[in-house]
């Protein structure tokens, strides 16, 4: 972009006084010129017009506004990427609306065509804006601050005095003084022109470039990412391959064949809770103690994972998400065979005290006489038994102080042979029959864990015999069709394993944006001119004026400071009589006569001359 002196696009009010200041007021920033004119004929003309429109500040504003409005629906309508179950519920409840939303991409707003269009246009506009602005800025750096306008009195801040010193000496001194204060200054005619605060423009450009960097980083991250979940019970492990994940999703460019080889085992899980006071039950620590290995040779390392401290391995991160209890049970069938033994992860129903539910499916069970009799158990688990609430027991503390498992049982066909994937936390009871007791009520029992029944009952003073323990921890099914024994408790933890390239880039972009933004908003770009000429009476008249962007009240103060610094080299003439009446023809131009350094210097004490310029 050329450094022409057209100031119509100057985005600050300084442009207005600048319009009669000629070049002096031009390009105090590098905002693009607003071009509202109609295009000249021809496709090229139209194309240029369109491009100008797209890269204008007005369109940038419009697109920004659209971006914020466009982001709203995604926060109010359920999103597939966040909660697919909710989306399905929504669609089931609002059939027509759901269809309309589906067509509009409302269930995946942030990857929808229209949302992408808004931000892509915005970023094209941004690039179209940054490139010419950068050139323009380089031009300004190469050039010199514009020469002093003819009438300095018209500038927003102005001061003058008379001195005995020679004009040449004053200008010389002014140049030195300004350069010492890191102004870019040069002599032009009977004045020195100086400018400072270029970093503001640098900051602004850095900020806008950083926005692009962040967008690129975000795009890289979502195209090449992978993310999966895994639930692991104490003692079990995970190794990084597709089949090991409970659930997995990845960006379109992620290659599942090249997943980095690593794995880990969860040795134990520690959870502690506040035991007393108003904070009773508040989690204090969650810690998964793991051993992990990388590569094929796999030397093991031990580590503790906590919620905010992920494991960083081979470009993957492993996060501890949540945890719960996995009762260990043994199931025997009608023949007395052990048909199931293991820890079954239960899902917490109450996130605070961990009343949890789960099921045990035993497809391989048979009756006494060898008939197929699949068994299913539905169970509720409480770590600390707190009593019963409308029939079902509840927990009163999250730690396993008094664990109880309440079981009821089903038999028949579990429906696992159909080949359809089944929810491991639910029984499909369509072809199952529930065991009932003699009275026709549901057959169920509360079990104590075999490994701690003695401890748990010790408060009653009695030690339990092995038979008694067996009785407390086992439920025998009617007709000798089998039994289930509550052996003990393990803890499970769920992990999220993610791979997202571009995080470093995103952080770099964010930091650069922040620094650029601060520079752009806190640094003032301003110009100062000093003129020294011999007056009619042979005494030198020094005039100083400043021009900044409109928002600053600091400019007059700075000008005053500069004047004070110049005075030693241009001492005030002792007989400072009436001033040359430079303003006479300007009439009402300079109306506010205020000294910013002395806010109370006002005739009317009730007049806060500083105004709200706080």
């Amino acid at each position: 972009m050329s450094t022409k002196t057209d100031t119509t696009g100057e985005p600050d009010a300084a442009a207005d006084p600048a319009s009669d200041l000629g070049a002096a007021g031009s390009q105090l920033s590098t905002a693009p010129q607003e071009d509202i004119g109609l295009p000249s004929l021809g496709p090229l003309g139209w194309a240029r017009w369109f491009w100008r429109q797209l890269t204008s500040m007005r369109v940038a504003l419009l697109l920004l506004f659209l971006l914020s409005i466009g982001a709203i629906p995604g926060s109010l309508i359920p999103q597939t990427s966040i909660d697919p179950v909710k989306v399905d519920q929504f669609k089931a409840q609002h059939t027509t609306l759901g269809e309309v939303y589906d067509k509009l991409g409302m269930f995946h707003v942030y990857s929808s065509v229209w949302f992408s269009a808004i931000y892509l246009l915005l970023f094209i506009s941004l690039i179209g804006c940054i490139v010419p602005r950068s050139w323009q800025f380089v031009g300004q750096l190469r050039g010199r601050p514009p020469a002093a306008p003819r009438r300095l009195t018209r500038l927003p801040a102005y001061t003058t005095w008379r001195t005995e010193a020679d004009p040449e000496e004053v200008l010389e001194a002014a140049g030195r003084m300004l350069k010492k204060r890191r102004f870019r200054a040069h002599r032009s005619g009977t004045a020195v022109a100086a400018e400072k605060g270029y970093l503001r423009e640098v900051g602004n450009l850095v900020f806008h470039v950083a926005l692009i960097v962040m967008l690129v980083a975000f795009a890289v991250g979502s195209l090449w990412k992978s993310e999966g979940g895994k639930l692991i019970t104490e003692g079990d492990g995970f190794s990084n391959s597709l089949t090991q994940y409970d659930d997995f999703k990845s960006g379109p460019f992620f290659d599942t064949d090249t997943m980095a080889p690593f794995g880990f085992t969860m040795n134990s899980f520690d959870a502690t809770y506040e035991r007393t006071g108003p904070q009773k039950g508040t989690p204090r620590t969650f810690r998964a103690n793991i051993s992990y290995f990388t590569g094929a040779d796999g030397t093991e390392h031990k580590r503790a994972l906590e919620v905010n401290t992920p494991l960083d391995v081979e470009g993957y991160k492993v996060y501890l998400l949540s945890h719960g209890y996995a009762p260990v049970v043994t199931v025997k069938d009608g023949r007395g065979q052990v048909v199931y033994h293991g820890a079954v992860p239960f899902l917490p129903q109450d996130p605070k005290n961990f009343t949890s539910s789960g099921v045990v499916k035993v497809p391989g069970a048979e009756t006494k006489d060898g008939k197929r009799n699949q068994l299913g158990f539905q169970a509720l688990f409480v770590p600390t038994f707190g009593g019963k609430n409308s029939g079902s027991m509840f927990s009163q503390f999250p730690a396993p102080d008094f664990p109880v498992l309440s079981v009821n049982a089903w038999h028949g066909d579990l429906g696992m042979d159909s080949g359809l994937p089944q929810n491991v936390y639910q029984l499909d009871t369509k072809r199952l029959k529930q065991y009932k007791d003699a009275g026709g009520d549901i057959f169920k029992k509360m079990l104590l864990p075999k490994d701690r029944a003695t401890q748990m009952m010790s408060h009653s003073g009695a030690t339990l015999s092995p038979q008694e323990i067996e009785a407390e921890s086992t439920m025998r099914l009617p007709n000798g069709e089998g039994s289930i024994t509550f052996d003990g408790i393990k803890t499970w933890a769920s992990f999220k394993i993610t791979h997202q390239p571009g995080n470093g880039l995103a952080l770099t972009g964010a930091v650069a944006a922040l620094v650029g933004l601060a520079a752009s908003l806190f640094i003032q770009r301003r110009r100062v001119w000093v003129r020294a000429e011999k007056g009619a009476d042979g005494v030198t008249v020094v005039e100083m004026a400043g021009l900044g962007r409109s928002e600053s009240a600091r400019l007059p103060e700075e000008l005053a400071g500069l004047a004070v610094a110049l005075v030693p080299d241009a001492p005030i003439a002792p007989d400072a009589g009436p001033q040359p009446d430079t303003e006479a023809t300007d009439g009402p131009a300079a109306r506010t006569d205020q000294d910013p350094t002395e806010p109370t210097d006002s005739a009317d004490p009730a007049d806060p001359s500083e105004g709200a310029r706080a």
Partner: protein, 361 residues
């Protein structure tokens, strides 16, 4: 352990007492502010009209202040002539709520003293609350609201302390803080809250404290913007003597505010100053989300609304930089942006469920 628990409960109880006392004193401050406005109305008004309609005839004299000390001329700070930006109305600021009357001023000072007292109680309430839960008091909406109010009043008093002309914000501020605390103790009250370990992260504390501070500053900007809209309309009416003139009540109130230009400038400064902090708030939140959930940005409702608020403020700043959008249009954008901030706080926490909702209402 039980002793400590009892101590905590006493602290929590004291905290509530302090907050209630602060509300009582804020109410007194509110009454004093009202008195200030009522007695201030007896002052002469019409300075704005005068400034707008009379031509400044006297040629401005340009002078240099010279202090004679021991015979040598010493230049003190030279008198710098400032000129209003062309096109803007050149109107002096109003005298403030007290209207330049002594009685009004007295009530105004009483109001500020009461505000200081209420603030001390309020801050005491926030600190005892923090001690009772043994963590920063930003764990749920009750704590967030009380802290937010305390920070807003602190800012106001700090600006007063630095001799900034912000007395005009006194009445709106006290009113809002009363509303804020009223909501906090009635609707949002939470006795003591659970914090899941995901919240044990210093990035979270940085994030939340910055969000509170940003909000308090943005609030000031929003009040100034709102008043700007009124005052600007008022000045526009006065500038056009043929058109409809403002009523007596509007004149009495609006005349006492700073000029539209000053209010606008104040609002811009405040918003522009805090925008980088708000940006940092979001970045800190993203860093924390990365550490806690394995993604720095996941379009969770809270994240979406922080983003919307941020873009809305970017809009506002852009609007100020675009010639045709200065003034009223930019002001409306500023208000919309603040509304987004408010919705992100109340709306998202209460109506929308997301990962952040476990912070507890």
């Amino acid at each position: 352990m039980n002793l400590a628990a009892a101590a905590n409960e006493t602290l929590a109880h004291n905290s509530n007492l302090l907050v209630y006392s602060a509300m009582a004193v804020y109410t007194l401050a509110f009454v004093a502010h009202m008195a200030e406005w009522v007695f201030g109305s007896r002052s002469r008004v019409g300075r704005t009209a005068a400034a707008l309609t009379t031509e400044a005839k006297a040629p401005t004299t340009v002078s240099v202040q010279v202090a004679q000390k021991g015979g040598t001329a010493v230049l003190e700070r030279p008198k710098v002539i400032t000129k209003a930006v062309a096109g803007a109305r050149d109107v002096p600021d109003g005298p403030g709520a007290h209207g330049g009357t002594e009685k009004g001023d007295l009530y105004g000072r009483i109001a500020i003293s009461l505000t200081v007292l209420a603030w001390a109680l309020h801050v005491g309430g926030v600190i005892t609350r923090a001690l009772s839960v043994q963590r920063a008091p930003w764990g749920n909406m009750y704590e967030f609201s009380t802290t937010f109010g305390a920070v807003a009043v602190t800012l106001y008093l700090a600006l007063l302390l630095f001799k900034k002309n912000v007395r005009w914000i006194g009445l709106p501020l006290v009113t809002t803080v009363l509303l804020d605390l009223g909501l906090a103790v009635s609707v949002l009250y939470t006795a003591s809250d659970q914090l899941v370990p995901a919240l044990h992260s210093y990035w979270l504390w940085i994030h939340v404290s910055c969000a509170i501070l940003s909000g308090a500053v943005l609030y000031m900007g929003a009040v100034a913007t709102l008043l700007f809209l009124f005052r600007d309309r008022h000045e526009a009416k006065l500038a056009d003597p043929q058109g409809k003139q403002p009523g007596a009540f509007a004149t009495s109130v609006l005349e006492r505010l700073p000029s539209a230009a000053s209010l606008d400038k104040f609002a811009y400064r405040v918003n522009a100053t805090v925008f980088p902090l708000w940006t940092f708030t979001i970045i800190a939140g993203a860093i924390w989300a990365e550490a806690a959930w394995g993604r720095y940005w996941g379009w969770d409702p809270k994240e979406v609304w922080s983003f919307i608020t941020w873009v809305a403020y970017a809009c506002y700043l852009h609007a100020r930089a675009t010639a045709g959008w200065k003034g009223r249009k930019a002001a409306w954008l500023g208000l919309i942006a603040f509304a987004c901030y408010l919705f992100n706080y109340y709306g998202v926490n209460i109506f929308v469920t997301g990962l952040h909702s476990y912070a507890g209402v």
